[in-house]
C-alpha cells in the first residue's frame, strides 16, 4: 500500500526528472511513510512512497523484470501473488524479491496487457515498457485504489492523489462547474470526470496505455455485469438455497483467507452490523490469525451502534478498541478531511473514519479488513427495497396499501402523522414517471441532493448550461442494462456511483491512507461479485429482508440478534458538527461568509446565508438541508486548497516545466 506518481512523454531526461518526481511524491508521504523509491530513464519517471506490508526486506519499488526492460510502481495488494508466483516460477521466471509487486512485471512479460486478468487484488499500477516505449496505467475492478492523470505539454502525468498533480501542474487546481454539479447531485462524479477541470480519474476495471506516439488506448478489462433477467429464475440457477449458501460461505472463507496475507499484524473494523461482524467471525472461525478490532462510537444516540459492537466483541472475544467521536471532533477534523478527500462531499461520515484510522495507526496496525461492499454485492441497501416497493406499487397505482410498505422501511416515518393519510402517496409517488428507466431507483436520492442546486450562483448555472442529471447518468450505463433484473440495474448504478465514487474513496482509501492504514474489502473479491451477480434477485432481497443469502451463509457464526438485525446506515452528525450554542466554528464562519462565497463564485451568497442561518438555529433537520450545507462547506474547503496550490507553485523559484523539459 502506497502512493505512486510519475510522468511520461518524449524528451523526459532522467537527471532533470528526479526533482519533479520528488516534488510530486512528497505530497503523498502520508500514503507511504516507510521510504521513497524512484526510477527515471529517457521517456519516463516513476516515483513510489512505500507503506511496507509484504516483503519488508526486499520489497522496495520500483520493481523491474529480469531483463530490466519493464518497470513498475504499484499501490495496493495482489492477494493471489503466492499462487501466481508458483505458476510463473514453474514456467521458468526468476524472481529477485519476495514481494507481490514482482508478479506484475513477470505477468506483463508473459501476457502483455492481459496481465490484469490474472490479478486478484486492489491496485493502481503504472508500468513502463522500455522496448515499446509505452506507459500502462491500470486500476482494480471495483475502484478501491485511486489513480488520476492529466495531460500537459505533450506528457501524461499520473498520481494516486490529485495533490501530486497540483504540485507540478498548477493549472490543474481549477474546479470544473460540471464536476461540481455532478458531485452535489450524485454524491460523486462519474469517471473519468473529476471536480478538477483538467484531471481525469482512471475508471475502475480499466487499463490505459499511452503509446510511443502519444496515442491513448482505454480498455475495460472487467465490469460488474449481470445475466438477462429471465436467466436468473431460481430454477435455472440454484434449486436449493442451502447449497447456494454453502457455496457462498466457501467463497467467503477463501476471500478472507487471501486478504489476511500480510507480513504485519492485521486488524478489522467492527461496525456492529452484519457485514463487518461476518468478516471478523470468518477470521475467528476459519483461520488462525489473531484479530484486533476497532470501532467508532458516537456521543449522540441517534448515530451510535456501540451496544451492538459490544455484543459482537463479547461473542467473538476480540481485543477491541472503541474510538468515541463527538460533534466537535467532526467539525474540527473537517478541513483536514477535505485535504485528503479532494472533492466536495455531502455528508460528514468520512470524518470519524479518518479519526478511527488515526487510532488504528497509533495502535501499530497498518491493515484493516472492513465489511464495505456487502450491501452492493448482496443487496443490502434500503434504496433497493424502496425501489422494489415503488415498482410493486406502480403495478397498482391506486392502491392505498402498497405505499404503506415504505413506512416499514423508514422508521422515523412510523411515529409520524406523515406516514398516515395520503402523505405516503404524495412523497413516494414522486418520480414514478421514470419507472421504465435504469436509474429509477436513484431518482429519489438524486432529487433530494439537488436541494443543493438552489445554492448555485447564476454564473455557475450559466456555465453548466442545460443539464439533465438523469439522462446524463444513463449515458454512462451498459447498453443492455434494461435486459437485467430491476435489482441488478439498481446494484450496477449503486456500485458505480456511491461505492466507487464515494464509499471506497472519500470514505475509504482517502481517509484510511490519511493515516497510512490500508483497508481491505473481502466482499469485493471479484469471484464473490461474479457469484452473487448470477444469483436470483430473490436470494438477495427476499420479501423485505435484505442480504438474505449472506445471512444464510453466516448463520451459525453470529449471534441471532446480529444475524437478524436490519441494516442501520452508517451516519454521523452533519450540520450540527459545525455550530455550538448557535455559534459557528471560526473557519466555518469565515468560509461561509458572504464575501468568501461571492469571491469564490460557485454559490449565491443570499441562498447560502439562509441555509447557514437555518443550520445555525438547529432548524436543519432534513437530509436535503444537511447535504446542501456539507456540500457547500466542502466545496469551499476544496476551493481554498486549490488557491493554496496555485500560490505555492507560483512562489517556487522555478516552474516544473523547467525541471522536466528541454
Amino acid at each position: 500500500m502506497c502512493g505512486i506518481a510519475g510522468f511520461s512523454g518524449p524528451g523526459v531526461m532522467p537527471d532533470l526528472a528526479r526533482p519533479v518526481l520528488e516534488r510530486m511524491i512528497h505530497t503523498l508521504a502520508h500514503r507511504g511513510p516507510d521510504g521513497y523509491g524512484f526510477h527515471a530513464e529517457p521517456g519516463v519517471g516513476l516515483a513510489h512512497a512505500r507503506l511496507s506490508i509484504i516483503d519488508l526486506a526486499t520489497g522496495d519499488q520500483p520493481i523491474h523484470n529480469e531483463r530490466q526492460t519493464v518497470w513498475t510502481v504499484f499501490n495496493g495488494e495482489i492477494f493471489n501473488y503466492v499462487e501466481l508466483r508458483e505458476a510463473l516460477e514453474a514456467a521458468g521466471h526468476r524472481f529477485y524479491t519476495r514481494s507481490d509487486t514482482e508478479v506484475i512485471v513477470h505477468l506483463y512479460d508473459r501476457y502483455g496487457d492481459r496481465f490484469v486478468d490474472h490479478l486478484n487484488g486492489q491496485f493502481a499500477i503504472a508500468l513502463w515498457d522500455r522496448e515499446r516505449q509505452r506507459l500502462v496505467l491500470a486500476r482494480d475492478r471495483t475502484g478501491i485504489r485511486p489513480l488520476f492523470h492529466a495531460r500537459s505539454a505533450g506528457r501524461i502525468w499520473f498520481a494516486s492523489e490529485v495533490k501530486a498533480l497540483h504540485a507540478v501542474l498548477p493549472e490543474t487546481a481549477t474546479l470544473s462547474p460540471l464536476g461540481l454539479v455532478q458531485a452535489l447531485t450524485y454524491w460523486s462524479i462519474p469517471d473519468p470526470d473529476t471536480v478538477y477541470e483538467r484531471v481525469r480519474s482512471l475508471p475502475p476495471g480499466c487499463l490505459l496505455s499511452v503509446e510511443r506516439d502519444g496515442r491513448e488506448n482505454l480498455t475495460r478489462f472487467w465490469d460488474w455485469t449481470f445475466p438477462r433477467a429471465e436467466e436468473t429464475s431460481p430454477a435455472r440457477v440454484y434449486r436449493d438455497v442451502d447449497q447456494a449458501a454453502a457455496d457462498l460461505r466457501e467463497l467467503l472463507v477463501d476471500a478472507v483467507r487471501l486478504q489476511l496475507r500480510a507480513d504485519v499484524p492485521v486488524g478489522a473494523y467492527l461496525s456492529g452490523g452484519l457485514d463487518s461482524s461476518g468478516i471478523v467471525a470468518l477470521i475467528r472461525g476459519f483461520t488462525d490469525t489473531p484479530v484486533r478490532t476497532f470501532s467508532v462510537a458516537f456521543e449522540d444516540d441517534e448515530f451510535d451502534e456501540s451496544v451492538h459492537q459490544a455484543a459482537m466483541v463479547r461473542h467473538l472475544g476480540t481485543d477491541h478498541t472503541t474510538l468515541r467521536c463527538g460533534r466537535r471532533d467532526i467539525g474540527e477534523a473537517f478541513p483536514r478531511l477535505l485535504r485528503h478527500v479532494e472533492t466536495p462531499i455531502l455528508r460528514t461520515a468520512p470524518a470519524p473514519l479518518m479519526l478511527l484510522a488515526e487510532s488504528v495507526h497509533r495502535h501499530g496496525y497498518k491493515v484493516v479488513l472492513t465489511g464495505e461492499g456487502a450491501d452492493e454485492v448482496f443487496g443490502g441497501y434500503d434504496l433497493f427495497k424502496e425501489a422494489k416497493v415503488r415498482r410493486f406499487w406502480a403495478r397498482q397505482p391506486h392502491s392505498k396499501v402498497r405505499p404503506l410498505l415504505l413506512g416499514r422501511l423508514y422508521g422515523y416515518l412510523n411515529n409520524s402523522p406523515v406516514s398516515k393519510s395520503g402523505f405516503a402517496q404524495s412523497f413516494f409517488g414522486q418520480g414514478m414517471e421514470h419507472l421504465g428507466r435504469p436509474i429509477f431507483a436513484h431518482v429519489p436520492r438524486w432529487s433530494m441532493s439537488m436541494r443543493a442546486m438552489a445554492m448555485l450562483s447564476p454564473e455557475l448555472r450559466a456555465c453548466v448550461g442545460p443539464w439533465d442529471p438523469l439522462s446524463a447518468y444513463e449515458q454512462t450505463l451498459p447498453a443492455d442494462i434494461m435486459d437485467w433484473s430491476p435489482l441488478a440495474r439498481d446494484q450496477y448504478v449503486e456500485a458505480k456511483s456511491l461505492l466507487a465514487g464515494y464509499l471506497l474513496s472519500a470514505q475509504g482509501d482517502r481517509v484510511s491512507m490519511a493515516h497510512s492504514v490500508e483497508g481491505r474489502y473481502p466482499y469485493l473479491d471479484h469471484r464473490l461479485i461474479e457469484f452473487a451477480s448470477r444469483l436470483p434477485p430473490s436470494f438477495k432481497v427476499r420479501g423485505m429482508t435484505e442480504k438474505y443469502l449472506l445471512r444464510r451463509a453466516l448463520a451459525g457464526l453470529l449471534p441471532a440478534d446480529i444475524l437478524r438485525r436490519t441494516k442501520q446506515p452508517y451516519r454521523a452528525p452533519d450540520s450540527q458538527s459545525f455550530f455550538f450554542d448557535g455559534k459557528p466554528l471560526d473557519y466555518v464562519a469565515d468560509l461561509m461568509s458572504a464575501d468568501r462565497i461571492r469571491s469564490a463564485g460557485y454559490f449565491d451568497p443570499t441562498a447560502v446565508g439562509h441555509l447557514f442561518e437555518k443550520c445555525r438555529h438547529g432548524g436543519a433537520t432534513s437530509f436535503a438541508d444537511n447535504q446542501a450545507f456539507v456540500g457547500v462547506l466542502s466545496t469551499m474547503l476544496v476551493h481554498h486548497e486549490c488557491a493554496k496550490w496555485c500560490s505555492v507553485v507560483r512562489d517556487q523559484p522555478a516552474g516544473p516545466d523547467r525541471y522536466a523539459y528541454r
Partner: protein
C-alpha cells in the same frame, strides 16, 4: 406582516433559501413541486404552531392542507376562527 406573507417568507427562506418573492406563487404546489419534503412538513407545522399559537392534530395533517401557501393560510384561518 400579514399572515400569508409570513408563511410565504418562511417557505422562501427555509425551503427555497431565497429573498425573491417571485420564486414561488401562493398557488404553487409545495409537495408535488418538490419544495417541501416529509421532514419539511414537520418544520412547517412547528412554524405554524409557534407563530400562530395553534395546535395541529395528526388527523388534520393531510396533503390537501399542505398543497400550497394559500391552502396552508386558509387552514390557519379556519383554526383561528374556532
Amino acid at each position: 406582516m400579514e399572515r400569508r406573507g409570513q408563511i410565504k417568507q418562511f417557505v422562501l427562506q427555509n425551503f427555497l433559501f431565497s429573498d425573491n418573492e417571485a420564486a414561488i406563487g401562493d398557488e404553487d404546489p409545495l409537495i408535488r413541486g418538490g419544495v417541501v419534503d416529509s421532514i419539511g412538513i414537520h418544520e412547517l407545522i412547528v412554524f405554524l404552531e409557534r407563530n400562530f399559537q395553534i395546535s395541529v392534530s395528526p388527523e388534520e395533517m393531510t396533503p390537501a392542507i399542505f398543497d400550497s401557501i394559500r391552502s396552508v393560510d386558509e387552514f390557519v384561518t379556519r383554526k383561528l376562527a374556532i
